[in-house]
Amino acid sequence: MKWLVPALSALLFCLADCATGGSETGTGASPQAAAVLVDPPARTGVPTLLIAMPISPSFVEVRKSLVSEVQKNFNIHTFAVGPETTAAELAAVMQATNPVCVVLMNNATINLYYQVQTSNPTAQTPPAVLLMASFVEQAQARLRRATGIAYEVPGVTAFVHLRSVIATPVNRVGVIYRPPFRAFIQRQTSLAAKEHVELISVSVPNDVTAAGLREALHSLARKSKVDAVWMLNDNGLVRDAEFVDDTWRTELSDAKMPLIVGVPNLVAPGSSLGTLAVVPDHEALGLQAANLVFDLSDNDWRVDAHPVELPLSVKTVVDIKQVRSNFGLRPDALKHIDKALE
């Protein structure tokens, strides 16, 4: 079980880092990260894009890609957001830079923008592009003139990748979710159906116990006869090492069921837990964000007409040893995996 300690720490770190944010990110920048956040020289007569973001590697990677795409068309002003940043500071930067659009990364930054808007409801604020936050659609609904790109990897993307790696069929995938994820799961069900994958979802209470989760997993694996299980990035279902060991690992190692996870560190040869990790490709996310900015610019910044997009690009990590032993490895699969662990 020792392997689970770093893995769970990683999961919690990732969730905090990329979605909820607001902890140590803004002021904890490494010197390298700070060095790459130098904005290109501003030019007169060129519109400004304001990027408000925490300084940590994932965000820096997205920014780098975004800036490389849009810097010919926009001046860039980066505003580093940390736990001490206030809405007034963000408002001041917006006033000073007068951006045509503001890119907001993570939930804490979006919350600051929400405070800016609510503190002066009649004031005109620039259109916003929301990135790397959990449930962007919900955040969008609270804001005026906002759109963005969801951060959660759609299940169908993971299922298609799993199908191209393992030899056994992937027609029915089980997922366990808590009530806050209900709308998300409904959307995933229809998306998965497009690829002829039936998503079998089981709802559990917010305060699900280990026994309750085990029962739900058992039901999926034995009664619903699913071909694989998808673990959501929900820390209510992945609480600590002991909890994971008592639930996911116990049930799925017996059932020899492929498990799709959203954190690479839950895939570790010898651990018999994650089979495939599917995680956002941050460099590609920067390109997608740039496309979105160009689209909005071409459309007179009519943001409200632009629905939140789904992320297009992912990276994959596969436990090849587990795949070979339990499910069979498809020919040529290794050519298409970002990280193969054996």
Partner: protein, 250 residues
């Protein structure tokens, strides 16, 4: 850039080492150019292939021992590499070389042809008639403006919205999510797309094609011979990986 208060506050060393160990943060890495062996002529490769860049790079490096190979998966990295890395030669498809004003000294051929058709793929029915106002996905081969021009020429229209993606595999989600009406891809990539998806894919060949297959341009004349000799001696599986079966000298 606007910095916050207390900008030099750092994470405690043990946490940094812990995260480094987990692979969640990455130490500084030198530019990729520096990774190629300095004593060998350096070839930059930028192609849409049915394999991850790391696999292509490893394979080419094994089979081209006299050359230093750097494979780029994305246009911006390739562009940056050309500017900062000053390669001795470049392997890419003809439009990419032409955009840079580079003449090829080796032209890849497949089935006796130096070009291949490009396809417009869509779900359930092929996109017939005017494409005006349609959203079309394509791999970012030439940057924002260059890719738009490339696609305009292929589709013989200017009134389209393009969605550039970083990798060939990212085209499928555009169709799955109904984020694009169609996608453009080389005909050699259709098999892999059909292998991955259960969507009903319909295609039509683009009037503005075909497009040149991978070609080699030598930027440093002093290394021309070794570059040409090396690529000409590639074995069949490696050439197939690159999407060619032979090389011709234009």
């Amino acid at each position: 850039m606007t910095r916050l208060r207390n900008p030099r506050r750092r994470w405690p060393q043990p946490i940094v080492w812990f995260l480094l160990g987990l692979g969640l943060v990455h130490p500084y890495q030198p530019p990729r150019r520096a990774m190629a062996q300095a004593s060998k002529p350096v070839v930059h490769v930028f192609l849409q292939l049915d394999a991850k860049s790391s696999i292509v790079e490893k394979t080419l490096q094994q089979h081209l021992p006299e050359l230093g190979i750097v494979v780029f998966g994305r246009f911006r990295d390739f562009e940056e590499g050309l500017t900062n890395g000053r390669p001795d030669a470049v392997l890419s498809i003809t439009p990419v070389l032409q955009q840079r004003g580079k003449a090829s000294c080796l032209q890849g051929q497949r089935g006796g042809k130096s070009t291949e058709p490009y396809l417009l793929a869509s779900v359930n029915q092929s996109l017939e008639g005017s494409l005006a106002g349609k959203t079309i996905g394509v791999v970012d081969l030439l940057g924002h403006d260059g890719t738009q021009t490339f696609l305009n020429n292929l589709l013989k229209t200017k009134d389209i919205k393009i969605k550039r993606v970083a990798k060939i595999e990212d085209l499928l989600p555009l169709l799955e999510f109904s984020a694009a009406d169609g996608i453009v891809l080389p005909s050699s990539m259709l098999g892999r797309l059909l292998e991955r998806t259960r969507l009903v894919i319909k295609t039509k060949e683009l009037l503005g094609g075909p497009v040149g297959l991978p070609a080699v341009a030598v930027l440093n004349p002093a290394v021309r011979d070794v570059v040409v000799r090396s690529f000409q001696s590639l074995d069949v599986p490696t050439k197939r990986l690159l999407g060619v079966d032979t090389w011709s000298v234009p």
